[in-house]
Symmetry: C2
C-alpha cells in the first residue's frame, strides 16, 4: 500500500503543512473599497451533503480582521494558530491557541489578529444557514458606546 | 471588564490548557471486559440545539485505541495532538498533527495512538445520528483478509 500523503484519495485523508491542506483550495478574501475585512483567507476543510455542518479554517494575517457582521446561524470557533482578539456582542476577549468561542444567533462579531502574529481558527457552521448582515451606521454608533468595543473597532479606520 | 479566562460565561469562550477546556467535562470511556476501546477520553466542545453538528475532542492515550465500528453518519476528523494510525475501510494510514480524515457512511474505522504518544483529534458529527454497529466475528474475519488491516487490528488481542 502506498503510504505517502500526496497519493491519498480526496475523501479519505488530507495532510496539513503549515496550515494548508492537500487538495484544499486557499481562498483569499478579496478586499474591496469598503474594507469590511482585511488579510483573511478561508479553507473549507469539510463540506459534504451527508454532513449537516461545514468545518472551515480562517486565517487572519497580522494586523488583519474579519468582517463585523451578525446572522441567525451560530459560529463555533476554535483557535488553531497564533492569537488575537474577538468581539462577540459587547465582549472583547483575547484569544489564543485552542480557545473556544461561541457566537450566538444575531450577535455582532469580529476576529482580529494582533499586530505581529496571524490568527487562525476553525469555524463550524450549519451547512444550511442565512446570509450575514452588516452593521448600519446606527448599529456602529450603538456598539461604540461601549469603550472597550470602541477601542476594538478602532483598529479599522473604515468602520468608524 | 474582567479579562481573566476562568470568569468567562460558558457560551462565550472557554480556554484550552493542555487539551482540556474550562467547563468542559472530561469523560473517560469506561473499559469493559470486551475491551472494545482502551484509554480513550471524550470532551464535547460544542453542542447546542441551534447547531446541526457537534464538535468533540477525543484523546487516545499511548497504546490505546477507539472502538472499531461503523454507522450511517459520517465522521469529519482533524488531528489536534500527537500521532497514530487510523483504519478507514481497508485503508490503514499514519496520521499526525492537523491531518484530516473523513469516515464515509457504513465504513469500518478505528483510531490508534502509537506506543509512546497520545493521539488527540477533533471529530465533527451530525447532531442527529444513528448508533454505531460493532463487527461480528464474520466481519472481523473479512477485514483481516487484508494483511495491513490484520496488522493494524492485531494490536488488540481481544479483537482477534
Amino acid at each position: 500500500m502506498d503510504d505517502t500523503i500526496s497519493s491519498l484519495p480526496r475523501p479519505s485523508r488530507r495532510a496539513a503543512r503549515d496550515y494548508r491542506w492537500d487538495q484544499v483550495e486557499v481562498r483569499p478574501y478579496k478586499e474591496d473599497e469598503r474594507a469590511l475585512f482585511k488579510k483573511v483567507s478561508r479553507q473549507i476543510l469539510f463540506s459534504d451533503p451527508a454532513l449537516s455542518s461545514e468545518l472551515r479554517y480562517f486565517e487572519v494575517e497580522a494586523g488583519g480582521f474579519s468582517t463585523l457582521e451578525r446572522h441567525e446561524h451560530m459560529h463555533a470557533v476554535m483557535v488553531l494558530r497564533g492569537r488575537g482578539e474577538c468581539l462577540v456582542g459587547r465582549e472583547v476577549r483575547n484569544i489564543e491557541l485552542h480557545d473556544l468561542v461561541i457566537v450566538p444567533p444575531w450577535t455582532w462579531h469580529q476576529f482580529r489578529a494582533g499586530a505581529g502574529e496571524p490568527l487562525g481558527f476553525l469555524c463550524m457552521v450549519n451547512a444550511r444557514r442565512d446570509k450575514p448582515q452588516l452593521p448600519t451606521p446606527a448599529d456602529l454608533a450603538e456598539l461604540r458606546k461601549d469603550e472597550s468595543v470602541a477601542r476594538f473597532l478602532g483598529g479599522s479606520e473604515e468602520q468608524r
